[in-house]
């Protein structure tokens, strides 16, 4: 808007226009100041719980138990994180955070990679081939979009029990990797690949698999990256499904493990090590978002539309 307003001050009526210009500027500056003020306040409020968690992870259990958590970090960070990492947080100290982090990482990576892999293959089949029941298959996948795993949780759990997959990696990961969203996104993208590419590949004698590997996959890299960020977070943050499927402590994921530590929220608990575990639990996905922000925003706005 600024460039439009600026040339108004023509020499014909300098004094009046100058005053008008200054008034406009002042008003705009005031409105900008208020905007920044509101945003800074918003950022502070949003960050406050994380700050207090960081602070809580650096004090001893006694200070927190008495309710004397200060606003600034203390000096017990190293020992709190060491306990959380090696033995596990909270009173119960069931599973070390190091084990739970590895489990969460494996789960998130397998879900993200699995979703992307099966979605690329199925979208490729639907876009670049004609075969009987092609659209039926597409719609069968599409319908899964409608029912999040939470809705069909108990019957899906029974299927896993029937298949004997409780407490196994396949049982934890495979039911979560069916993804209509990713299939739709790749289908949308594959449709934009020009027909000339396919023709050229055919003339050069490249088969469909070669074309997939040498042309389609390299072209899809940005989409894969964007989707990976979203799916990694989705996988890392899974809660209800691991809660049901995993009761073996060595396979506990960090998000579920953390919530088990707090019990009923009593004050007599090792809140310092719980907060250290909380920091460890939120750090990986937050880092992924922070470092890959461009992909993240892109993945988010594209998968949802």
């Amino acid at each position: 808007m600024a460039p439009v307003m600026a040339p108004v001050a023509t020499p014909a009526a300098p004094a009046r226009d100058d005053a008008l210009l200054r008034a406009t500027r002042r008003r705009r500056m005031l409105s900008h100041l208020m905007a920044h003020g509101a945003l800074i306040l918003g950022v502070l409020i949003v960050a406050f719980p994380i700050w207090m968690t960081l602070v809580g992870s650096t004090h001893d259990a006694g200070t927190i138990g008495r309710g004397d958590v200060p606003l600034l970090p203390g000096s017990h960070a190293a020992e709190n994180y060491a306990i959380a990492w090696n033995e596990g947080g909270g009173r119960t100290r069931t599973t070390p955070a190091s084990t739970m982090l590895i489990n969460s990482l494996l789960m998130a990576l397998m879900i993200a990679a699995g979703k992307i892999a099966i979605s690329i293959l199925s979208a490729y089949a639907v876009v670049f081939f004609r075969f009987p029941l092609r659209m039926a298959a597409f719609w069968a996948i599409f319908i899964t979009l409608m029912l999040p795993v939470e809705v069909r949780i108990i019957p899906t759990f029974q299927v896993i029990v029937d298949l004997g997959l409780v407490n196994t990696w396949p049982g934890l990961v495979v039911p979560l990797i069916a993804s209509a969203t990713a299939t739709l996104l790749f289908r949308q993208f594959f449709l934009t690949i020009p027909d000339e590419f396919v023709e050229a590949a055919k003339i050069d004698g490249a088969g469909p698999l070669r074309f997939l590997k040498d042309v389609v996959l390299p072209l899809s890299l940005t989409n894969i990256a964007a989707l990976f960020v979203i799916l990694f977070i989705y996988g890392w943050n899974q809660y209800l499904w691991p809660l049901l499927i995993i009761n073996d402590r060595s396979m506990e994921t960090i998000v579920v493990g953390l919530s088990k530590m707090i019990g009923r929220g009593d004050s007599q608990n090792d809140w310092n090590t719980i907060m250290a575990t909380a920091v460890l639990a939120l750090l990986p996905p937050v880092l992924v978002v922070a470092l890959m922000q461009r992909w993240f925003v892109r993945g988010l706005t594209e998968t949802e539309k």
């Binding site: 996948i141 999040p148 069909r152 023709e199 919530s259």
Partner: protein, 293 residues
């Protein structure tokens, strides 16, 4: 839309589709079918006998006061979460949109709670609102409010709403900011030249142009509040005190996993499926409309 140039072959595409279809059938159609089938049966607690009872499970669920309580909680909870998360995000996005350079900086500073798991968000807020340990919890008691979310149902609801809104704010902010930035500057300039004040410009131009985004986000927020917040409620209140924060999805879990009442749990799942399908259908119609204008 179809490609004109394609590869030939029948076996290969089916082989490529097989993994996705297998997962979809085994973990989607089979359980969904099971849910519908079980919702028509009554089984004793040990699974020894079952009989066909038609729609009786649904009748029982729909007239069960605890289910109605959960339904009411869900309405209150999702209504509060959607209204607050959308309102605050829109307010912040409008502020961020005022300066072009600042917008991306604020976006970076505001988006990361999206990455925090609902259950972890619950732990963060618990640490603040715990009545004896938490800073805000103690503060509230110090000024004379007998704050205890473990005993007071309203307090528990307030706390789960705060945690749920905190986590969803980032998502809404990203979409509102993208929506605001796609409104052509010329439209706003024209209105400004015509003498429309900022507030008027917002309500007569910006807000209507944003309505597709708002509507899309409303559906997403409701779906989020219905299902993804399970972690928040499970970690924070366990649906309590006295079922004050028990939502529909939480009740499915409690009846299916803890009370082992499979028929009723399945009937509840089917009702939830119908709600989700309705929400998704509404969302698709809205997206289609957006494409047309």
């Amino acid at each position: 839309m179809q490609k004109k140039v394609i590869f030939r072959g029948r076996l290969l595409p089916i082989a490529l589709l097989a993994p996705q279809l297998a997962v979809t059938f085994v973990f989607f159609f089979w359980p969904a079918g099971q849910a519908i089938y079980q919702s028509l049966l009554r089984e004793d607690a040990f699974g020894l006998s079952r009989e066909f009872v038609g729609l009786e499970n649904f009748q029982e669920v729909l007239s069960d006061p605890t289910w109605l309580n959960a339904a009411l909680n869900t309405v209150v909870f999702s209504g509060c979460v959607a209204a607050l998360a959308l309102g605050l995000a829109l307010f912040l996005a409008v502020q961020a949109d005022k300066s072009l350079r600042g917008a991306t900086v604020y976006r970076s500073l505001l988006i990361w709670p999206y990455a925090v798991a609902p259950a972890v968000a619950a732990v963060l807020w618990l640490f603040l609102f715990q009545p004896e340990v938490g800073m805000i919890g103690r503060g509230l008691r110090a000024v004379g409010i007998p704050w205890d979310y473990r005993l007071n149902g309203t307090h528990a609801m307030v706390l789960v709403v705060i945690a749920a809104v905190w986590k969803q704010l980032a998502y809404n902010f990203i979409f509102f900011l993208a929506g605001l930035q796609s409104i052509p500057a010329s439209v706003l300039e024209a209105a400004a030249i015509d003498g429309a004040r900022p507030a008027r410009r917002f309500w007569t131009i910006i807000f209507p142009l944003l309505s597709p985004t708002t509507f899309f986000l409303l559906v997403v927020n409701l779906t989020y509040a219905f299902f993804e917040t399970f972690g928040i409620i499970h970690a924070l209140t366990n649906g309590g005190p006295a079922k004050a924060t028990e939502t529909l999805i939480y009740k499915v879990y409690v009846d299916g996993v803890e009370n082992l009442n499979l028929g009723q749990s399945a009937a509840q799942s089917v009702i939830l499926m119908i709600i989700v399908i309705a929400l998704t259908a509404i969302q698709f119609r809205a997206v289609e409309k957006k494409v047309h204008y």
